[in-house]
């Protein structure tokens, strides 16, 4: 990429003109790679989040298979002890920070503005910044593989094991700085999406008329807002220790390694709910559609989500029962951990009650949703056993814990995201994923998943320690380890079927010129009211909301005897996708320019501080360029409709309210 046509080529290029309000010309393309690099459209950003997460998912999945191959038989020789440490650390870190978190961000970015009847998020450019900064952080983290090896202290990197003395390579530095950068992305995203939910709702959409997914997004963003800075604080301490000889975790100087453990888990336990609540939201959208009933106990669903959000802050020390925090702490955190099972149980029961008596159809999204409810419940139950401190002391650092959190994160988290993929794929990409392959995909995944992680309960209770690169023959670990490794390959097969399904369905849709209607599932919330795939401007006319499940209530009503009757044809209710006169926020170079500077700062801290100066200049220049350009270019915004309709019609207004107050955007 030469400077002449790269993102830094400001003010040049054929189609660009200097515009009076901006200091530099703005990108104007609507198609091609440059339009993706400069996009501020929440839908495109959501798609990019999802695509990046899938790439990282493949990387993390390969790491998982290396772990299982090493452990398939006793005295495995595939990985050395050192390499094994790096592989499991990077597997955990990748799956949590670069797969499940961005998948949540992908769904929230795409769906949340649609569900509240908005044309975009509150700060479209900040949204683009979140994505690019997240990608920069993920690349810094994974570049460790090419620059001397990954982090090797587990995804939590306990002190003092994370110090230079015990981990002399730069692996943990890459881990630390990569996650610090990704943390900036989370913080920016949280500020942006919280503002969006609070401020951008369509007329009439009060908080208690928001879909459950939007509610769970809001809770997750608040958790991110408050949890990420605690990790950031801890990571700064670690960075100062490792790179600038500070003494935060040097026990010989009297430092207390428990400080790291507390700070990490004060972040780490809310993080667990950051990972799981988005998929709770997804299945809360899917199950009512395929049960043809409204969600059971909507207020309970909302308030249990909020309760989980609050109580998630009071349970962190149950990760530390074995660290000697003292009997009073142990007792208090035991009790709070038992309590937090209550709102979670409320959710499970409400999903079951939603299905109860419904006209169930078992399309692929529904299968995965039921998969989530069942698998998560198993994980939840083994989680409650951790609340019993004596039992937990025995389970600590065994495969029982590994089994538990994979049932929650994979059986709960990933199942929900796949449900969401099958459910919203037509809305996002304009074609449906094959139903038959979807069902095959599900059953193979379910079998593979339980074969992989089910036996780990047994191994753990037999005493097999986690994070140990091999085991000897004769401990009784052989059989279940082998079963678990076989299961991993079944999961991999299932994921290959998923990718094949994407490809085959796309080819079929293209060949047979299939298109999907706006509302293929006879669904309930506002995102189904716009054509599939969603037009750039979302809504032709911002709907005025009077019900929870507004779209459903526009289609169906009740007769005198309270029976469900159709009151309007779907085609009459959905919008036509005519975006004339809609002003959209303008694309911008600055988000990616700013994100580009951040890895240089990270590499500079590790190798040579002069790189930091370069990266810093890049970031500061981007901030000032950003401030000088209005969020919505007054000369643009007419590009999304034909030239003969240059007069903005009165029927719709502007996408965001940031035009005049762009200075602080």
């Amino acid at each position: 990429m030469s400077l002449a046509d790269g993102p830094l080529a400001l003010g040049s290029g054929g189609e660009l003109t200097t515009r009076p309000m901006g200091v530099f010309a703005r990108p104007g393309e609507a198609k091609g790679w440059r339009s993706w690099v400069t996009t501020v459209d929440h839908k495109r950003i959501g798609i990019m989040y999802g695509a990046a997460a899938l790439v990282f998912f493949v990387i993390g999945g390969i790491e998982a298979m290396l772990i299982r191959l090493q452990l398939a038989t006793p005295d495995g020789k595939l990985l050395s002890a050192d390499l094994y440490n790096q592989v499991y650390t990077m597997h955990g870190t990748t799956m949590i920070f670069l797969v499940i978190m961005p998948l949540g961000a992908a769904f929230m970015n795409y769906l949340m503005p649609l569900q509240i009847g908005a044309r975009d998020v509150a700060f479209p450019r900040l949204n683009a910044l979140s994505f690019w900064v997240f990608l920069a952080g993920g690349l810094v983290l994974n570049s460790a593989w090419l620059l001397g090896g990954g982090a090797d202290g587990g995804w939590f990197n306990y002190a003092p094991n994370n110090g230079v003395r015990f981990s002399p390579t730069h692996g943990i530095d890459f881990w630390n700085l990569g996650l610090l950068i990704a943390g900036i992305a989370s913080l920016v995203g949280a500020v942006n999406l919280i503002t969006t939910v609070l401020n951008m709702r369509a007329p009439g959409m009060t908080l208690m008329k928001m879909p459950v997914f939007t509610w769970m997004s809001l809770v997750v963003q608040f958790l991110l807002l408050f949890a990420v800075p605690v990790l950031t604080a801890a990571q700064f301490l670690l960075m100062f220790d490792r790179l600038f000889d500070a003494q935060f975790f040097n026990t010989q100087m009297g430092a207390d390694p428990l400080l790291w453990e507390h700070l990490f888990w004060i972040f780490g336990h809310p993080e667990v709910y950051i990972l799981i609540l988005p998929t709770f939201g997804i299945v809360s959208e899917v199950i009512p559609v395929f049960a043809r009933k409204p969600i059971f106990g909507y207020p309970f669903m909302v308030f249990s989500g909020i309760a989980i959000g609050f109580m998630g802050w009071g349970v962190w020390a149950h990760h530390m029962f074995a660290s000697g925090v003292g009997p009073i702490s142990v007792a208090a955190f035991s009790i709070s951990t038992m309590f937090i099972a209550v709102p979670t149980g409320v959710k499970v029961l409400n999903w079951m009650a939603t299905m109860w008596g419904g006209k169930l159809t078992f399309d692929a999204p529904m299968l995965y949703s039921i998969g989530l409810v069942t698998m998560f419940t198993i994980g939840g139950l083994s989680g409650v056993t951790h609340a019993l401190a004596p039992a937990d002391t025995q389970q600590t650092d065994t495969y029982y814990i590994v089994a538990h959190f994979h049932y929650v994160m994979f059986g709960g988290g990933l199942n929900g995201f796949i449900a969401g993929w099958y459910f919203w794929w037509p809305k996002v990409f304009g074609y449906r994923l094959g139903e038959r392959l979807g069902k095959i995909n599900f059953w193979i995944l379910l079998v593979g998943f339980n074969l992989t992680f089910g036996p780990m309960h047994i191994l753990g209770l037999q005493g097999m320690p986690r994070r140990t690169y091999t085991y000897r023959d004769g401990y009784g670990f052989n059989f279940w380890n082998f079963v678990s490794t076989v299961g991993t390959f079944i999961i991999a097969t299932s994921m290959l079927i998923f990718f094949a399904n994407i490809f085959l369905s796309y080819r079929k849709a293209k060949k047979e010129q299939l298109s999907v209607p706006a509302d293929p599932w006879d669904a309930r919330s506002l995102e189904w009211m716009v054509p599939s795939p969603t037009p750039a401007h979302n809504f032709d006319v911002i709907p005025t909301v009077s019900h929870l499940d507004e779209f459903w209530h526009r289609k169906y009503g009740e007769d005198e005897e309270g029976r469900l009757v159709r009151i309007a044809a779907t085609e009459d209710v959905v919008q036509k996708g005519d975006g004339r006169g809609v002003h959209l926020p303008s694309p911008s170079y600055w988000p990616i320019v700013m994100a580009f500077g951040m890895p240089w700062i990270a590499y500079g801290l590790i190798y040579n501080l002069w790189f930091c100066v370069l990266g810093g200049i890049c970031v500061v220049a981007a901030i000032y360029g950003w401030i000088m350009e209005p969020a919505t270019d007054p000369d643009a915004g007419h590009d999304d409709h034909p030239a003969d309709h240059d007069e903005p019609s009165d029927a719709s207004g502007e996408a965001v309210a940031t035009e005049e107050a762009a200075l602080v955007d």
Partner: protein
């Protein structure tokens, strides 16, 4: 904040059937202000983590001096007073722009930035004094925690000074006027937050034994 959102959501759109060209938000508070409040909420947890670290480590001095032995309370009180006064001048700046008085706005912004700079100079002087007396960043957990906490605050003040000067320059070039006076108010929110955090740090670090 959420209660407010609920009650004003409908009221903010009187009869808004299909039109949304007013720039009214569902809460009635501008996006920028909500975002700044959310960001400041996040900052509370960042400083919470660093203050906790300092409280844990303040007496773990290894072979070096304990920070407490080195404080010059009179000196730091004066610099704290200067920083607090900058909050007053910040209020005067916001008041000036809401009246549409651009010259007074720039004057008060620059006075605020100057007071902030005096505080930062005091902090630099204090750091140098501590170094001379044997308490460095790498001396002990107490030293690391002290310099990290106060240093983070100093960086926040410095960023605030840059924001104030930028706002003054933007006002000069006509980009901040009475019409978008809220931009100044939001810079002010940040500045007051940084001051409030210093009150906490001054109390916890310097005054409480």
């Amino acid at each position: 904040m959420t209660d407010l959102a609920d009650t004003t959501a409908v009221g903010a759109h009187p009869g808004a059937a299909t039109h949304d060209h007013t720039h009214v938000t569902a809460t009635g508070i501008s996006n920028e202000k909500v975002a700044m409040w959310a960001f400041l909420g996040s900052e509370c947890l960042l400083f919470g983590g660093l203050i906790s670290t300092f409280l844990l480590y303040k007496d773990r001095a290894a072979d070096g001096p304990v920070p407490h032995e080195l404080y010059d309370i009179a000196f730091t009180s004066i610099s704290s007073f200067v920083l607090l006064m900058s909050s007053l001048t910040m209020v005067l700046a916001v008041s000036a722009i809401s009246r549409g008085d651009d010259r007074a706005l720039r004057a008060w912004l620059l006075v605020t930035a100057l007071l902030g700079s005096i505080f930062i100079s005091g902090q630099v002087y204090e750091f140098k004094e501590f170094l001379n007396e044997g308490l460095g960043f790498t001396t002990s957990p107490a030293g690391s925690a002290f310099f990290t906490l106060t240093g983070f605050h100093g960086v926040h003040v410095t960023i605030g000074i840059v924001m104030l000067i930028s706002a003054a320059l933007l006002s000069r070039s006509g980009r901040i006027t009475q019409r978008n006076a809220e931009a100044v108010e939001i810079v002010g929110l940040y500045w007051h937050f940084v001051d409030v955090v210093w009150i906490l740090i001054f109390t916890v670090v310097y005054l409480i034994k």
